[in-house]
């Protein structure tokens, strides 16, 4: 009985200490994670309606194709990669699947004013003020018609993050060279290989939704991913950062089971040896 009392005191002290250095310290240091806003309610535009894909393609060829390609439709960008890097310090994305992973309302706002939509005043793409609401709706309709549905987490990460971020443990190399990225963003964006361990998943989700949520002033642009694409991205980052989770959880059960069995055996032995002592 006395020993159980001592054990209880130990447990209470350890739990108080644990509470202090883990949950409590983290809540003080990091504060609340800001809620994601997938409606992009700060953007004063409305989601596109209707839209004609054929007209959209014409508009695309006239306004976008000098920098952007659409591989799914066999369109190569007018500018080659090296020329683009020299002028923008970043590779312009191929837009094949953009409409599948980006929120359409965000896209409208982005095409008209990329700097405002991404919250990055130095964002490389110039505003396309010449396009009317209808033009933009048509372009989005065209991009939607070519986009591949049901992209995997990995595909989304390559599409949405891969121009600036490497994921070297997955052999994904950032498309833009490091020096240019440094000139464009002020620093080399971190590798994402174990980001799923370095950050809480809740934080990552909120950060991808709006980087200013987690790191005010960061040069990472807001991407405008849909809720589904964001969640797939986070799930992928989580999975590649901790590839042996299933193995660990399964093995843990066996090890703990074995040790509890040992505890039973050793307890029986102790009883036997101590029978005549007291």
């Amino acid at each position: 009985m006395k020993e159980l009392k001592i054990l209880a005191i130990l447990v209470v002290i350890v739990l108080i200490g644990y509470w202090g250095i883990e949950p409590y310290a983290h809540s003080v240091m990091h504060g609340e994670v800001k809620k994601s806003d997938y409606a992009y309610s700060d953007l004063k535009v409305s989601a596109p309606t209707g839209g004609d894909a054929t007209k959209g393609k014409e508009l695309f060829m006239a306004n976008c194709a000098s920098c952007h390609g659409v591989k799914n439709d066999g369109i190569n960008p007018g500018m080659d990669k090296n020329a683009a890097i020299t002028s923008f310090n970043v590779v312009p994305p191929d837009l094949s699947n953009t409409a599948a992973i980006l929120d359409h309302k965000f896209l409208v706002a982005f095409i008209k004013n990329p700097q405002e939509a991404t919250k990055n005043p130095k964002f490389a793409m110039p505003p396309m003020a010449q396009l009317s609401d209808e033009d933009v709706a048509n372009i989005i309709a065209y991009l939607s018609s070519v986009a591949k549905k049901d992209l995997t987490g990995k595909e989304i990460v390559v599409e949405a993050c891969g121009r600036c971020h490497s994921v070297k443990y997955q052999k994904i190399e950032a498309e833009t060279p490091k020096d240019n990225l440094k000139a464009y963003l002020g620093k080399i964006p971190p590798d994402l290989s174990v980001m799923g361990k370095a950050k809480e998943l809740e934080y990552l989700e909120s950060f991808i939704n709006n980087p200013q949520n987690g790191l005010p002033g960061t040069s990472m642009p807001r991407l405008g991913l849909t809720k589904e694409a964001t969640e797939k991205t986070v799930a992928y980052l989580d999975q590649i950062a901790d590839p042996h989770r299933d193995q660990r959880n399964k093995l843990g059960v066996w090890v703990l089971g074995y040790l509890l069995f040992m505890a039973g055996l050793t307890f029986a032995w102790k009883k036997k040896i101590w029978k005549n002592i007291h």
């Binding site: 054990l7 644990y18 250095i21 443990y169 370095a198 660990r248 093995l251 843990g252 102790k270 101590w274």
Partner: protein, 394 residues
């Protein structure tokens, strides 16, 4: 001739077993807190074994270290993650077990005559273990590895005259970088473990001369222990010890598999970057109390540094601070109160150590630091009161 007899003729193994196990007695009036010495040895063994496996794949090079840990060991090597989790959790739990082992010694007066050497060697082991943990923490070359090493080595700068040169000598460069990593590696895997083994041997030898202390702080002769007051180390003491070990290992491996984050800080999964200081820099939990004493004197860096060094070493002088003739805290009402205030203060400092040192927290840290030292400074006074009481009682 039986093999055992053959061996006995040459190595006197039968006598050895008698002296160290079957006829070595520990008092009967002890509780499971006396098991923690063996638990420390168990965790040390776990650390050595898991460490050797990690050593097979780890690369002590600033360009390779992070990837060798987080890719090779954690992802590519079969069960590499298990060895890393075990090593990281083992390092953390080593200090939990050590703190309990030491607190038991403080409460029951195990540092008192004739066990001063046991206490001192034990304290040296604690300091060596701290150095081992500190050097080992740099090896994964993550952000917190780097900045903890950078911050702590900077402290040496304040030492008069030689400070700035000493810092460069320790780091092998003006900042923490590759040379620092390789030398910390050498210390962590060779030099410090060797010293730990040597001092463990002295510690164990030393405890066998006066024998283990007990709850009442009574002194028993070997004869008394043989006839009623004690139990043989083998098999009686160890029979219980194995049970305690099983329970402990269940807890330990629960942490290894399901609750390891406290020992593997998320921020350390970002590679070391000397251009980017993390917003919060803090050591692992087991150094937080001492670290908080350093920050507690927030109005003077020099004072903080002196207090920090003092806080780490003052407990080594317990046998000379506390000279009361009553050994066990169980029979010392005033001491008991002081002890629990001290424990509460230590936990309090540990928690504060991770919080930002601003506003109210800074002042709480200052008060906590003062209470920490007050415990040690009160001991000579308590001793005098108790000496008078004992003399009057006669």
């Amino acid at each position: 001739m039986k093999f055992i007899d053959w061996l006995d003729e040459r190595l006197a193994v039968k006598e050895l077993v008698k002296v160290t196990l079957t006829e070595y007695y520990v008092p009967k009036n002890i509780n499971f807190l006396w098991s923690f010495g063996v638990l420390v040895m168990l965790v040390f063994a776990i650390l050595v074994v898991s460490g050797i496996f990690l050593l097979m794949y780890y690369k002590p090079d600033a360009h390779l270290a992070f990837d060798s840990v987080n890719k090779t060991i954690m992802m590519d090597v079969e069960y590499g993650w298990l060895f890393r989790h075990t090593h990281a959790v083992g390092a953390s739990i080593m200090f939990l077990v050590l703190f309990i082992h030491m607190a038991r010694g403080i409460y029951y007066g195990s540092f008192k005559a004739p066990r001063e050497i046991v206490w001192i060697t034990g304290y040296i082991l604690f300091v060596l273990m701290s150095a081992t943990a500190f050097t080992g923490y740099l090896l994964p070359w993550g952000q917190m590895s780097y900045w903890a090493a950078q911050t702590i080595t900077t402290l040496f700068e304040k030492i008069p005259f030689i400070g700035p040169d000493l810092v460069i000598w320790i780091r092998g460069n003006y900042i923490v970088e590759d040379a620092t990593l390789t030398r910390f590696f050498a210390l962590h895997v060779v030099f410090l473990p060797l010293l730990l083994i040597v001092f463990t041997a002295i510690h164990l030898y030393a405890v066998r001369i006066p024998g283990s202390n007990n709850e009442d702080g009574e002194h028993y002769t070997k004869e008394e222990k043989k006839h009623g007051k004690g139990i043989p180390f083998w098999p009686v003491f160890m029979a219980k010890e194995f049970f305690v070990m099983s329970i402990f290992l269940t807890f330990f491996f629960y942490l290894v598999f399901y609750q390891y984050k406290f020992a593997m800080d998320p921020i350390n999964f970002q590679p070391a970057d000397y251009l980017q200081t993390p917003m919060h820099i803090y050591p692992e939990w087991y150094f937080l109390a001492f670290y908080e004493v350093l920050r507690g004197f927030f109005f003077s860096q020099n004072l903080g540094l002196i207090a920090f060094v003092l806080s780490m070493f003052i407990a080594a002088f317990l046998p000379w601070l506390d000279t009361s003739p009553i050994v066990s805290g169980k029979h010392r009402p005033i001491y008991k109160v002081l002890f629990w205030i001290f424990i509460a203060d230590f936990v309090f400092l540990t928690i504060l150590g991770k919080l930002p040192p601003t506003g109210l927290y800074a002042w709480l840290g200052f008060v906590g630091s003062l209470i920490y030292f007050a415990f040690f400074l009160a001991l000579p006074i308590v001793s005098r009161i108790e000496k008078k009481k004992v003399a009057g009682g006669r």
